[in-house]
């Protein structure tokens, strides 16, 4: 047995009653040692139907979305709408430090588990309810989705080409932003509990937190530009490639972050000091934004002579940030990604062995890591129900037949 060190949160138990929208919250807590038990209805989390799939064949254990966002967790099934299910849930709650829920604000109360009941069952329990719009307010019953929440976050109006339709960001950015806000709140509440001895209820709204995790500057940027004696500022628009221009190169595209005159000078050096780029006006950032189209035509003749990585490395030498626009394969194979061992081998009982993106940081004392693959549906029923709650295997089979598990 290799010596596996504890994570920072080893010893805490989290019940993950969230579907795929809140999956990221408990995944990042599992990465740093928390024991996470994912509770799914007997039919499974709807996230199991989310594409892409292994070999592009829909299958409940082969959703790449699901198996990525649920690593590190144990998995059990439980129907809390049944009487026996409620009793079992009650027992589980007593063993837990945290409950993460992302159903509608009325759902758990209707099942008999409003916060007052939960607190009675376990006064130390921390409950985080991640909802689309919050526990109260005019939009409380509105529905959200990945795309809808991103649109409302204020970031989408800045995404994509001017004149074209605003563009969705890949992945599930609004849910990830809400999830990370829930994770922060949970560890803060755990830390505080050491002093107070009490749990608390946390209301996390996707609508509120997506803005903070993606682009909080949008409101002050707008409001600082409002001048009482002047016409209102231009509304935010999609800048496309005007601020951070994109240029083609030998094997793909680069994005250039030249903000200061010094960075512009460095860029000109990277491209071999072509005469056409020596006009002093080009040193001015605002001039470049205003003449982005013309500049593009001057630039791409030179950028095309090099590869993405050549320009990226030359930019660093000369002092101008140049980003290669990497494809998934490029990032995976990058020498830096490899040196940091970011991708981790994970062996899933159905989907097989593969390299997964790991946690985005290294901890010296309590390593962050993917401790186990995402659970198959009900994979740990026996471990939890028989091993911990004292059910026999026969009882387990009966509960399954009765659709309690």
């Amino acid at each position: 047995m290799p010596d596996v060190k504890d994570g920072a949160l080893t010893g805490y138990r989290i019940l993950d009653f969230a579907d795929s929208k809140g999956a990221f919250c408990t995944k990042v807590l599992a990465d740093i040692g928390a024991e996470v038990i994912k509770i799914e209805p007997p039919g499974g989390d709807p996230g199991r139907n989310a594409p892409p799939f292994l070999n592009y064949t829909p299958h409940p254990e082969k959703s790449l979305y699901f198996i990525y966002r649920n690593t590190g967790k144990l998995g059990i099934t439980l129907n809390i709408e049944s009487e026996q299910g409620k009793e079992i849930f009650h027992q589980l709650l007593k063993t837990a430090d945290v409950l993460v829920d992302n159903s509608h604000p009325d759902y758990l109360p209707k099942m008999g588990f409003d916060y007052t009941n939960l607190k009675e069952i376990n006064p130390q329990l921390i409950v985080d309810s991640i909802t689309e719009f919050g526990q109260t307010g005019p939009y409380r019953d509105y529905k959200g989705s990945n795309l809808v929440d991103f649109a409302l976050s204020g970031t989408m109006i800045t995404s994509g080409y001017p004149g074209k339709v605003p563009c969705m960001m890949p992945g599930s950015p609004a849910y990830d932003a809400a999830s990370i806000h829930a994770s922060m709140s949970i560890v803060a509440a755990l830390y505080m509990r050491a002093t107070t001895g009490e749990g608390q209820f946390i209301d996390t709204s996707v609508h509120e937190t997506a803005r903070m995790g993606l682009y909080p500057w949008i409101i002050p940027n707008y409001h600082y530009a409002v001048n009482p004696n002047m016409p209102p500022p231009t509304p935010e628009v999609r800048m496309g490639a005007a601020i951070y221009p994109v240029y083609p190169c030998k094997d793909g595209f680069i994005r250039v972050i030249a903000l200061t005159p010094r960075q512009w000078d460095a860029l000109v050096r990277v491209l071999g000091n072509p005469d056409v780029l020596q006009m002093p006006e080009w040193r001015d950032f605002m001039y470049r934004i205003g003449n982005a189209e013309d500049l593009y035509h001057l630039m791409f003749e030179y950028t095309q002579k090099y590869t993405m990585v050549e320009l990226f490395e030359a930019g660093s030498r000369e002092g101008v940030p140049i980003a290669p626009i990497l494809k998934m394969s490029d990032f995976y194979n990058s020498p830096h990604t490899r040196a940091r061992q970011f991708f981790t081998e994970v062996s899933h009982p159905v989907a097989g062995k593969a390299y997964y993106p790991g946690p985005p940081y290294k901890w010296t004392e309590t390593p962050a890591r993917i401790g186990r693959p995402a659970p198959c549906l009900g994979e740990h029923n026996e471990q939890i129900y028989c091993g911990e709650l004292g059910f026999s295997k026969g009882e387990l089979a009966d509960l399954k037949k009765a659709r309690v598990l």
Binding site: P52, G144, P216, Y224
Partner: protein, 402 residues
């Protein structure tokens, strides 16, 4: 009480990630001191005419005190070392190598404060050929693979957004890490060093597409606003200039409600749209029909009609929409703060709602060196005379307005 009362944080940050980390730690109740000086300005102070009147800076640097001290002088470093000895957490996001040159890297710091929790966040992270590369958010989205998918299928190349994503996700990750590390230290007495790569934060946000590559051997292509699972699923033009509303119909029940809500026009009865498979197959035509309906209505109207019918829909909000958003107003998600130079301005409010804490606070961003005197006097026990002398020598910076 607040969760991080009595926790002391030193922030050496610049740009987005470092300052936003300190801002949130401050909201949770920590005492956050920002180390800065005229000869080492946070670059966000330099993108406008007045270092104390920049929107992005004044948003991300709320809830902290500014100690104006030059790290280029030995006396300045001496002062910071005194502060480091009595602090719990250090966070920095300078280019790799900068903190070591200043003598404030983890190895140096833990000699004077062994239980320190030290967080570093660089664009590419320490350990590898790009450790010391300078990076900004818009660069990181490109260098992580994320940007390659942030486009419409017919775009000539991806442009993503001009927002600095993933800066504000990286900072939140670090807040979570810092508090977890504090909790571990509470139980064991041990501090540690946490070293983040922002590219890895961005890559982690599109993890399923990396699995598409590592498991299916396929490099995914951008899908824009469409989904391979649901239709309608898009962003539709509405009445007015550059006005849009997103609509996603995720279930059969929502499809029925959607058809009814838009007045059941004849095309909705066409058998080719009768199930999800058909709608996905005929998505171009479907989207044209949907847009026929949205394009004669204002985006808020589209959202309200559809949400009332139980269909997920949301306006592509601008800042003004957010400021007037009734739900955000209800949650207190927009606040006005009075900054000594910028005056009364709107900022995003506190998004943490924890039943067992007192109300989280937000204070305006500090002027450069605004708290130099109070920190030197109260925390470091320096005399007024000493402070004046160090100010004259250019070691300390005290602003003329305060």
């Amino acid at each position: 009480m607040l969760p991080l009362e009595n926790v002391k944080v030193i922030s050496f940050g610049t740009g987005g990630v470092g300052p936003d980390f300190g801002k949130v730690m401050g909201e949770f109740g920590a005492d956050v001191i920002k180390i800065e000086s005229k000869d080492n300005l946070d670059f966000m102070r330099t993108i406008g005419a007045d270092i104390n009147n920049i929107a992005g800076f004044n948003e991300s640097n709320r809830n902290k005190r500014s100690l104006g001290v030059s790290l280029k002088t030995e006396k300045g470093r001496q002062i910071v070392r005194k502060l480091v000895k009595i602090t719990d957490i250090i966070m920095e996001n300078y280019r790799g190598g900068v903190m070591a040159d200043l003598g404030f890297d983890y190895e140096s710091v833990r000699r004077i404060n062994p239980s320190i929790i030290y967080l570093s966040s660089q664009g590419f992270g320490i350990g590898g050929p790009y450790s010391n590369y300078q990076a900004y958010g818009p660069m990181i989205s490109g260098a992580s693979g994320m940007l390659s998918l942030w486009a419409q299928p017919d775009d000539p190349y991806p442009v993503g957004s001009n927002s600095p994503i993933p800066d504000h996700m990286a900072s939140k990750y670090l807040v979570m890490a810092a508090i977890a590390a504090l909790d571990y230290r509470r139980r064991t007495g041990k501090g540690q060093f946490i070293n983040m790569a922002q590219t890895e934060v961005a890559a982690g946000m599109v993890g399923e597409y990396f699995l598409d590559y590592t498991m299916n051997g396929h490099s995914p292509v951008p899908m824009g606003n469409r989904s391979s699972q649901f239709a309608p699923h898009g962003c539709y033009r509405c009445l007015g200039n550059d006005n849009w509303c997103t609509i996603t119909v995720l279930t059969e029940e929502e499809w029925q409600s959607f058809c009814k809500a838009i007045g059941s026009p004849a095309w909705t009865a066409d058998s080719k749209f009768s199930d999800m498979t058909g709608r996905l197959q005929n998505v171009d035509e479907l989207d044209r029909f949907v847009e026929e309906w949205t394009s004669t209505r204002e985006p808020q109207k589209v959202m309200d009609i559809l949400q009332a019918a139980g269909v997920p829909a949301g306006v592509v909000q601008r800042a003004t929409d957010s400021i007037n958003d009734p739900q955000l107003q209800h949650m207190g998600a927009i606040v006005e703060l009075d900054h000594p130079v910028a005056g009364k301005r709107l900022y995003p409010g506190i998004v943490f709602h924890l039943s067992g804490t007192s109300e989280f606070k937000s204070t305006p961003a500090p002027l450069l060196g605004q708290h130099t005197e109070e920190i030197c006097r109260q925390v470091l026990g320096m005399s007024d005379k000493e402070i004046r002398e160090l100010e004259a020598e250019g070691v300390l910076h005290v602003p003329s307005i305060s």
